[in-house]
């Protein structure tokens, strides 16, 4: 509270003697009122990551239905805004967690097309706004791993729907993206995406096995640098079924708004007892100016740690066949973007100081120094308040994806996955015709035996 009160009191010491003229007082008061309203309305807008908090909490509590409802409401409000595309991605994930694979795939296909449009849309003015006005003034451009996840999650959707051909389309789309990255991303960034590519090779290999193309599946394994799990020896007349279980855990770290008050240190300076009124006013002026100097930029939250769970098949334990650590990818993506984020935050701080200074000198010419200072401060303060740190990212992505590949003989089997405090278990019947079976285990789940029905061809 003192942070605001001390400079305001100091400021009032400067202002009061000058505001004796009633006409001037009325004019200043009107200007103050308008600008305060602007400040209040702008500061009322929360950051993106704040606005999606309820959905994240609902997903982590295993209430994907609530997350979907929350995101639907948000999408109604944000229709046509810069956040709409990201909200569609968040909803796609929530729908997948809720077992609504058709809806999820529709959202992801739509988002994929829109992301491509953004890739080729030039927005020089909006991009310039990032350096002058606000961090989130330009359209959201996702990091490479987020883009890849659009296709990865859609492969999972199509596997769950047994739409193998469409799963392959998504894998090919990712292939096109990879070749583009080959020209546009640094070697290090490409290496970071290596584990995600490997995960996709596993999914593709499974798709080829499911569609009866084992040669292509082995080729895929070769490309991914792994060996396919071998089919156990078959008893005559009965085929083993390939089964994959895809499980998600935790949540990636998301960006949070950081507002650093640079002038705060100035408030610790007190006037010397022997200082004149003029000197005291000068200090108050400096302190008041320091009050509106904020450095606004996004930092990364801790996220919710992902867990590597093992799967139990009829009491036999099996480790994950493949994993993706999305937390690491999110952290790398933030580290890559950080220099630009900080540079933009500093240039915005400078541009605000310039606007404040120019406004002050313009008003000073027509009025007096104190009114000029006040209007300048309000202008700068309003701009600082309107500068929203860009906290946009795909916040509901899981921290970790695990894939388990099993070959199960004909019969009934118990599958149990202990993922932290929320075990998932189901019973699967393998008929002996070799048909593939896929499971998608949501982020969190209470013990509910037999609730999941296997998705079969």
């Amino acid at each position: 509270m003192n942070v605001v009160l001390i400079p305001l009191l100091s400021l009032s010491q400067i202002m009061i003697p000058h505001l004796v003229n009633r006409w001037r007082l009325r004019r200043t008061a009107t200007a103050l009122l308008i600008l305060t309203l602007i400040i209040c309305s702008l500061s009322g807008c929360g950051s993106y990551s704040q606005s999606t908090q309820h959905s994240r909490v609902a997903l982590l509590q295993g209430r994907a239905d609530l997350a979907v409802a929350e995101l639907n409401t948000q999408l109604e409000v944000e229709r046509g805004s810069e956040s709409e595309l990201l909200l569609i991605l968040e909803r796609a994930l929530a729908l997948q967690q809720n077992g609504e694979y058709h809806g999820s795939s529709k959202d992801l296909i739509r988002a994929d097309s829109e992301l491509e449009m953004i890739d080729y849309t030039k927005t020089p003015l909006k991009d310039l706004g990032v350096y002058l006005y606000s961090d989130d003034s330009s359209p959201y451009r996702p990091s490479p791993f987020e883009k890849a996840m659009v296709n990865v999650l859609n492969i999972v959707n199509f596997l769950m729907l047994n739409e193998w051909s469409r799963a392959k389309v998504e894998a090919r789309r990712l292939g096109v993206l990879e070749s583009y990255w080959g020209e546009n991303l640094s070697k290090e960034s490409r290496q970071n995406l290596g584990q995600l590519k490997r995960f996709v090779h596993w999914l593709k290999a499974f798709t080829f096995i499911a569609t009866g193309s084992p040669t292509l599946a082995h080729k895929e394994a070769e490309l991914g640098g792994f060996q396919l799990p071998s089919v156990p020896e078959r008893s005559p007349g009965a085929k083993y079924s390939p089964v994959i279980v895809i499980s998600a855990s935790g949540m990636v770290p998301h960006k949070v708004a950081q507002r650093l008050p640079l002038g705060r240190a100035l408030l610790y300076i007190g006037p010397h007892p022997h200082w004149s009124a003029r000197e005291r006013q000068a200090l108050a002026r400096i302190q008041a100016k320091g009050l509106v100097k904020w450095l606004n930029f996004p930092t990364l939250s801790n996220g919710v740690e992902g867990r590597t769970a093992s799967i139990r098949v009829n009491q036999l334990q099996a480790s994950p066949t493949a994993q993706v650590d999305l937390t690491r990818l999110a952290e790398r993506a933030y580290e890559d973007a950080k220099p630009l984020l900080i540079t933009a935050a500093i240039t915005r701080l400078i541009s605000r100081a310039l606007v404040g200074g120019i406004t002050e000198s313009l008003v000073k010419k027509k009025s007096n120094g104190a009114v000029g200072l006040l209007v300048g401060l309000i202008a700068e303060g309003a701009m600082a308040s309107a500068d929203t740190p860009d906290t946009r990212s795909w916040t509901t992505l899981p921290a970790q994806l695990n894939l388990y590949w099993l070959w199960l003989p004909p019969g009934t089997h118990q599958l149990r996955l202990v993922n932290g405090a929320h075990p998932w278990q189901t019973q699967v019947s393998v008929s002996g015709d070799g048909r593939p079976i896929t499971f998608n285990v949501p982020l969190s789940r209470s013990m509910a035996s037999g609730q999941d029905s296997p998705h079969r061809e």
Binding site: R166, R172, G212
Partner: protein, 204 residues
């Protein structure tokens, strides 16, 4: 009333008319050629399908195979043809477009009355069965089995491939549709055509 009032009224009226004209409106075929002709995605639209259909149908109607079928038809021996789905091997979700193309070809063949077209209603099940046995539906070795099961002497199949490229300047998708008619008895390809189409998205 002051002199400026009519002037203001005119401005407000003009502005209102301008705003009213800017709203969205529904269209029907023939109303806006530029809207109908413009590409809205890199997927296949009516224009692309029309072009592909015309080329495939034109080629088949001029082919020696059609002459052979017509000759048999004149002799009262109408052949049976099963039109299978076109497999999507591209990086675009064009399955619905491909189904439309197959339906158009099928409709044309039925209406010409030269061949008997086998119902496609049971084909997905059959294709699934063949694939679960570990073979591609278009494997030559499977043609005879499929033909027998469908009661057809000829099978019309196809695959759609693409060469998709993405760069900083844009995305380009070159489609290549390959269609063929296979004689069930011999496994010989009696007709084949390649049709291409280009779709793209450029930076702007």
């Amino acid at each position: 009333m002051t002199r400026s009032t009519p002037c203001y009224s005119l401005i407000i009226l003009g502005f209102s008319l301008y705003l009213a004209a800017c709203g969205p409106r529904y269209l029907r075929s023939g109303e806006d050629a530029s809207f109908e002709g413009s590409a809205m995605s890199t997927r296949l639209d009516r224009h692309d399908l029309e072009k592909m259909f015309k080329r495939a149908d034109g080629s088949l109607s001029k082919a020696g195979l059609m002459k052979h079928w017509k000759a048999l038809n004149r002799d009262g021996q109408q052949v049976t043809l099963a039109v299978l789905s076109i497999e999507n091997e591209t990086s675009e979700h064009v399955d619905t477009s491909l189904m439309t193309l197959v339906k158009k070809l099928e409709t044309n063949l039925i209406n010409e009355g030269v061949v008997t077209v086998v119902s496609r209603s049971h084909q997905p099940e059959l294709l699934r069965e063949i694939k679960s046995q570990g073979s591609s539906a278009f494997d030559q070795a499977q043609v005879a089995i499929m033909g027998r099961q469908l009661g057809a002497q000829y099978l019309m199949t196809g695959k759609l491939y693409d060469i998709a490229e993405k760069s900083s300047n844009g995305r380009r998708v070159q489609y290549f549709l390959f269609m063929q008619v296979i004689e069930v008895e011999t496994g010989a390809i009696r007709w084949q055509i390649e049709v291409d189409a280009l779709k793209g998205l450029t930076a702007g």
